[in-house]
């Protein structure tokens, strides 16, 4: 079950959010409950301390009139509730889109200055969170974890094309469908992921599930995103 939290310092706005949330849960008969509505960020964290298994949907005001801002609160929540869904409620002036997305992986944000849109947005967020929560608990796919700054990124194995060692020592490039991510590591330790991952060259570890074709003469592997990965003569055997 998904627990909904509202943290907003203005009582009027909090009341309004609370009403929208409880009404929507009731009308749609969703498997959710309003766990807490408060103006004090610390009480949200207290709740999570007491109920460590919570998966939540959090509506957080950015400017809480408290030494802890909504964004700091979100970071703390992330550490306790890894798969929680965070939605910021903010004024246009306080909007920090990139921070929301990158720092705390917020699901969405709602702009207060447009009162007529708040209700629609809140409902939309609840619906999306509900759907994601169901699909999260459904599939337990294998994931590759990588540190970027203080954040740990978790990437589904099936999204990975291959790993390539960069020309700079200790840097590895992770190739995905339409993105590339650099991180610190060594090809040798990546070889040990196992599963569909195969060391096909001294500087490549390929995901065999995402191979489109192998050109034996040129010693190249074409991936399903049309990217090319090299393969050594010795490793060709392992690709049969």
């Amino acid at each position: 079950m998904l627990s909904v939290f509202i943290c907003e310092d203005d009582p009027k706005q909090r009341e309004r959010l609370r009403k929208i949330v409880t009404d929507y849960i009731m009308i749609e008969a969703l498997d959710m409950e309003l766990a807490l509505d408060t103006g004090d960020p610390v009480s949200v964290l207290d709740y999570l301390e007491r109920h460590p298994k919570t998966t939540g949907l959090y509506f957080l005001d950015v400017d809480l009139q408290h030494e802890m801002s909504g964004i700091a609160l979100a970071s703390e929540i992330r550490e306790r509730d890894d798969s929680g869904k965070i939605v910021f409620v903010t004024t246009h002036g306080e909007l920090s889109y990139l921070t929301f997305i990158y720092k705390v992986e917020a699901m969405d944000y709602i702009i207060k200055d447009r009162p007529d849109e708040i209700e629609r947005k809140v409902r939309e967020c609840i619906a999306v969170a509900d759907k994601r929560h169901l699909s999260d608990s459904g599939t337990q796919s294998r994931r590759f974890k990588v540190k970027v700054g203080e954040k740990t990124r978790s990437i589904d194995h099936k999204d990975i094309m291959f790993f390539e060692s960069s020309s700079v020592p200790h840097k590895i490039i992770l190739h995905m469908d339409n993105s590339q991510l650099e991180f610190y590591g060594s090809i040798k330790e990546l070889e040990e992921i196992g599963g569909s991952f195969y060391r096909c060259h001294k500087s490549y570890v390929v995901n065999k599930d995402n191979i489109k074709s192998v050109d034996r003469a040129k010693r190249e592997i074409e991936m399903i995103n049309e990217e090319i990965c090299l393969v050594s003569v010795r490793a060709l055997k392992g690709l049969d």
Binding site: S96, Y97, L98, D113, G149, E150, N178, S179, Q180, L181
Partner: protein, 427 residues
């Protein structure tokens, strides 16, 4: 015996050049070609004597050019490799002479071969390390690189002329000594001149950068002043609004109050929210160089009618990477974003500086055309969305960032957005 020496020299020429250029490992094919060519030249040594070096140099150039395809780079590596080889050759000969080896004896050749290999390989590794450290520190610009290559080529030519001259007169140990002495002096003078020249160039470059920075700050200040005027205007309005509200309430005219709120107040607040304050967070960047590059590019973007926003929630007190490299990298990134937005004619860009306990994340995000090439295509060397030899592609950015050990990058294309993230780790 001399056959072997000529072959060895050709091999060393190719390999020192390769080491200096940080090239790939030599694969079997060019190696076989080198050995074959070496044997060929070695036999022609009987007829051509010292002049064999001319076809040797040409051969080495062609072999290297086949794998590298960058004439200037090959020329640079080859010339400095050759200088090294010639210096070691003279040095080894002198050392052996001092140790009373008879010139031409098998022992002489054996020691000669070993010492030549050791000297030239060690020297080329030294040059490579030196080159890397220079590149990391101050980044030679293309003009200086070219000059350095010409200097190398000229030096080789001069030295070979000396050798041919001494061969013509008749080679004696004294002559070799003299040759070596003159050559070393020549080299020293040449490099000293080059050093001072590059220093003055650098100074000129720095002054130009400072000027640009100054200009950017000037524009930033103007922008700030304009915003300040805007705020003052609002403060004035604010007073008026309050007194109007007061009037409505005193007269208990709530219909009038409603109308006033809907028509006047709401619009004013929308106007206040929408425009003009998208770059206010720039003041959170405390690093002058970084602030000025971001400010100048974003202000330019806004002048071009692009919806550009900057965000930072925390003060950025310092950027833990070489500021020259960071300014260049940001310049490329922001120019790319602006160019792309001019191409698509709509859309927006957002730049964010986000700090956490371990790193500073710099994000540049912009709308892009729907048929944007795939990320791995964009990263290919020499690839540009604007046709050949135009714009600085992602490849050169990757190269620039690659020099900085504590910076990693991420490139994403999704949902019509191009995102480039630089993660600068505090070390």
């Amino acid at each position: 015996m001399s056959v072997f020496i000529v072959m060895l020299q050709l091999l060393l020429m190719v390999s020192t050049a390769q080491i200096i250029n940080q090239g790939k490992y030599i694969s079997w094919k060019p190696l076989a070609v080198t050995i074959a060519a070496g044997i060929l030249f070695a036999f022609s040594f009987r007829w051509f004597g010292v002049y064999t070096s001319i076809p040797m140099l040409l051969g080495a150039f062609l072999i290297l050019y086949m794998s590298e395809r960058d004439a200037l780079k090959v020329l640079g590596g080859l010339s400095y490799g050759t200088i090294l080889l010639l210096l070691s050759d003279a040095l080894v000969t002198l050392i052996e002479n001092a140790l009373w080896f008879t010139i031409g004896s098998p022992a002489f050749y054996a020691v000669y071969a070993v010492l030549l290999i050791v000297f030239s390989l060690a020297g080329s590794i030294g040059i490579r390390v030196f080159k890397q450290s220079v590149e990391r520190k101050e980044m030679l610009d293309d003009r200086l690189k070219k000059l350095l290559v010409y200097l190398g080529v000229l030096t080789v030519v001069v030295y070979y002329l000396c050798i041919y001259l001494s061969a013509y007169i008749g080679e004696t140990v004294e002559l070799i000594q003299l040759n070596l002495f003159f050559f070393v002096v020549y080299l020293l003078i040449a490099f000293l001149a080059f050093y001072f020249y590059s220093k003055s160039l650098r100074k000129a470059y720095e002054i130009k950068q400072k000027e640009l920075q100054q200009e950017a700050m000037q524009r930033y200040t103007q922008e700030l002043e304009q915003q300040y005027t805007e705020i003052r205007k609002f403060r004035h309005d604010h007073q008026n609004i309050l007194s109007s509200l007061d009037a409505f309430i005193q007269e208990e005219d709530f219909e009038g109050l409603k109308r006033y709120y809907r028509h006047k107040l709401k619009r004013a607040s929308e106007h206040l929210a929408a425009e003009n304050f998208k770059l206010e967070n720039l003041s959170r960047i405390k690093v002058k160089e970084i602030k000025s590059i971001v400010a100048s590019k974003l202000i330019r973007a806004q002048e071009l009618g692009i919806d550009a926003t900057f965000e930072a929630r925390e003060d950025i007190e310092f950027v833990p990477a070489d500021s020259v490299a960071m300014v260049r990298a940001l310049g490329i990134l922001l120019d790319n974003a602006i160019e792309e937005l001019q191409e698509v004619k709509s859309g927006s860009m957002t730049v964010g500086f986000i700090r956490d306990r371990k790193a500073l994340h710099i994000i540049v995000q912009n709308s892009c055309r729907p048929d944007m090439p795939r990320v791995h295509k964009l990263k290919e060397a020499g690839f540009s969305t604007k046709g050949k030899n135009r714009g600085l592609g992602l490849a050169s950015l990757t190269e620039l960032i690659g020099q900085l050990p504590n910076v990693v990058s991420e490139t994403i294309v999704e949902d019509g957005q191009f995102k480039q993230i630089l993660v600068i780790n505090y070390t």
